[in-house]
Symmetry: C2
């Protein structure tokens, strides 16, 4: 979910990526997301003025729906929320032992994790600059802990480079820095940058390069203590009369440049957070704060507006039964476009076309429980992400319960967009996806075979209430349809990550909701 | 404390640093420490064999002394520990509201922090690879949390660059990457790297550079969405119909290269930890685990060995009174060399010369309490470090209690080595150091003036029981004296960070202790 940057940046990134050969692509996509997620949240919303006793029907109790309901209620509106699932949160969702999940087609998975362990099928991290979502975490007293994203001790792995042996990210980063610095120093000292730089600048650049790349006095990147202090030693420094430190040999430049692993050299250094106990804690806590407002298990089948209000028809999504109706003066609809396009609704062509124009990214996540946290015990990986060119793409290590021993759940596959096809998901049932994840992951962590206990897989295109992971806007479509999907249509306004520039992130849902209810409120008080 | 890398790496780094002009020096030193702290810990120590009822006297209940006592007791030795302070931990030490600290000369500070807030005058972070110390944290059930070191949203600040305006680390890093990539791409495309690279490699390099530096299609680093996704936007992407994103302008290349701020472009991406509640929790918990073994307030005044054992004479360091003695078969002495050199002890010339050869680094840390955590509320800095060329050098933001509001304590100055002189410490009393820290820090955070409440300053050269921060080995001295300071002299063996290659870190104390007691034990069982 959260790896999909906002479309304009994504477009730029994809352009860059498009020219890069082979396996480099995925590292780029994976690592780029650290940058493309900033938010313009500028403080709590203030909805003042006479609302004349107005009522609002909110469709969907995900982050956008609950943000809307929370603020509208505070401003004095009569608020009802209809939700398809039997729980609040929407894509904000954690799976715990004892939970079940039924996908499109009816296949049901029983989650068998030990007590205290969880897996986030949807969003799993909150960048520090997502101040909108963090504002609601504070409001709701959701306890947060640090999410470790960058970990130099995790791996980058390419089946076609370095004999398929995973490389520590920090070593690759140090070597790329070193070689790039060496090459530039060479060009610089051979007066080949004369046109670009003055003499002073050239001197300053040389100093930068030497220190930054850990170059030797000849401005060359070679096996050294300084380099090994970054990339790791063969024998580490110790105490007393234990063996003396031995520096390590850099990866060969030619192989490194061709490997596609280089992209790991630039990863973000900004704090991220996660709720203690799983991302779903936000949804649950939000739901409690709105107790009595949300009606669960409501499958919306018709949305009809007239001059005076909006009538929504729904049925109990679990039991079926006779259709019921709810009515209010206004409607904030946060149902994903994939589902909304299937629901009869009397809106104008601009909003309708916008809804139909939007496709959703596919995404698969697999959570795997192992008997012991071998990634910590054996490999000293505490949180962070390993990247591979195998179809599983990503292994994410838990950012909680460090060094406590016992069983652990890691993210055993995280595949987004086109890569989903290469994972063979069109045909694989969930149990098979888990097997594939274990199989492929064991090439990076051989301990998988011995330690695996159970797993769960969520393919977002088969999640009945979203039929996809997140909205995908092309720049062309954005220019044509974005304003139309956001604009009020009579008494109906849409909200959700699909109505934002931060698609695929909860922050987009929050900001979209705030923007939509501000415009709705303005209409109400000025009416 | 912890910023002093092991000497070999440090030497290499200092060589690099020595050639870099002006303010760049300090950023380099500051940031380099992230690399130079790796450990060769290889698992719990096993002391097996017949110890024949032997007894050991451990001098000092710091990390080295307590590690020694803990393992020796486990192996069956009769263990006593003598400690100068009235608490365990040594340099592992946190100050809380209500504590007092009296420095050399008698000046006493009352710590006035609010409940729940603390300041670590000594070590403040545990790199993930310090597996020796982490092993004891696990053994002792010390709860750990993530220490945030790298934070792109913290600042680098130079009084002489960019009109003295602090720059976000992430923006500087992005711009350095961008310009360096652009320059190298230029050299590359002008066939100026022909000697160094084949055609294939040149193509691969160009792709690396474009993506890594966020270059445009002409391989130039300019204002762009891709660049702003790294360095920050002028207007961030938002939701609904809020204003569209606006990219930001990179810093001018010439100014940037000359500024000395560039070194911030490379900061470590590996997890670090801290004990929940302050670093001193380790010392306290260790002390409890050794309950009954440690005698506090013992100032050692003589160490005398004979054929059969070691006799140590001490007085109550608070009350004075008649000297007392303790005796054991063997002695593990962890007293810092600065103090040990003043204590009569019958050892051979090699160990004696080694002790006298060793000088200790000066260091100052200042803890400041503010009414509110403005660095979070106003500036979105959650943990991490800002660097400045002002004498305070460092501002460290707390890695705990994020977003909880209320008062907070930050590290308002952290000065090491020669920089201590530039801070004017020879003459300044602690209260003045606090004032200086507030004064200088307000140039980075103007909120200081309004929000400051109280502070405490610890200058390690005036700490009565260490007279310095950490041992400083030159490579020459290491070659001459290191083996001699580590070797058993009769029935006495030394231990501590000064007897390790990881000086200035607690890990050095642990590894030194383990190495020393292993050698001592070998002597005992083979006697």
């Amino acid at each position: 979910m959260a790896q999909i940057p906002s479309p304009v940046s994504r477009r730029s990134l994809l352009k860059l990526i498009g020219t890069v050969a082979g396996s480099a692509v995925m590292y780029d996509t994976m690592l780029a997301m650290g940058y493309a997620a900033q938010s313009d949240f500028s403080g709590p919303v203030k909805l003042s003025g006479d609302i004349k006793g107005a009522s609002v029907l909110v469709l969907g109790a995900g982050i956008a729906g609950m943000t809307s309901a929370y603020e509208l209620r505070k401003a004095g509106y009569k608020v009802q929320v209809l939700e398809y699932n039997n729980r609040p949160g929407g894509r904000n969702w954690s799976l715990y032992g004892g939970d079940t999940y039924t996908e499109l087609g009816g296949a049901t998975q029983q989650v068998k994790f030990d007590k205290g362990l969880y897996f986030n099928p949807g969003p799993w991290r909150i960048p520090f600059h997502h101040q909108g979502l963090l504002h609601y975490c504070r409001q709701l007293n959701v306890p947060l802990e640090v999410f470790t994203q960058s970990n130099d001790n995790a791996y980058v792995h390419s089946t076609s480079a370095f004999d398929g042996k995973p490389q520590r990210i920090g070593a690759v980063a140090a070597d790329v820095d070193g070689y790039v610095a060496e090459l530039l120093a060479k060009a610089n000292s051979q007066s080949k940058l004369d046109g670009a730089l003055t003499g002073d600048e050239k001197d300053a650049l040389l100093q930068i390069l030497r220190s930054w790349g850990a170059l030797d006095k000849n401005y060359e990147y070679k096996k050294s203590d300084a380099g090994s202090a970054r990339r790791g030693f063969d024998v580490y420094p110790g105490g007393g009369l234990s063996p003396r430190q031995v520096p390590s040999e850099p990866l060969p430049m030619q192989q490194l440049f061709k490997s596609g692993l280089w992209r790991a050299a630039r990863s973000g250094g900004s704090p991220l957070f996660q709720p203690v106990g799983g991302m779903g804690v936000i949804g649950k806590t939000f739901g409690k704060a709105l107790d009595g407002l949300i009606k669960y298990n409501c499958k919306v089948i018709n949305i009809h507006q007239d001059d005076k209000g909006v009538t929504v028809t729904y049925i109990d999504s679990r039991k079926g039964g006779a259709p019921q109706t709810a009515r209010a003066d206004w409607c904030v609809c946060t149902i994903p476009a994939t589902i909304l396009g299937q629901i009869p609704m009397n809106i104008g062509a601009p909003m309708r076309n916008a809804i139909f124009s939007l496709s959703y990214t596919a995404s698969v996540k697999v959570g795997l429980q192992f008997k012991r946290r071998f990634w910590e015990d054996d490999e000293q990986i505490y949180g962070g992400i390993s990247h591979t060119d195998l179809p599983i793409s990503t292994i994410g290590y838990p950012s909680t319960g460090y060094m406590k021993g016992g069983a652990g759940v890691l993210l055993g596959a995280y595949v987004v967009g086109k890569d989903v096809n290469s994972f063979g998901l069109e045909t694989l049932p969930a149990t098979e996806m888990v097997k594939v994840a274990v199989d492929q992951g064991s090439r990076i962590h051989p301990q998988y075979r011995q330690e695996f206990q159970n797993g769960v897989a969520v393919a977002w295109h088969r999640v009945p209430w979203t039929l996809g992971c997140a909205a995908e806007w092309t720049e062309e479509n954005r220019a044509k349809n974005y304003d139309n999907i956001c604009a009020l249509d009579g008494r109906i306004v849409l909200a959700g990550e699909h109505c934002s520039f931060i698609t695929g992130w909860q922050e987009g849902s929050v900001l979209s909701a705030l923007d939509s209810i501000k415009r709705l409120h303005k209409r109400v008080v000025s009416a």
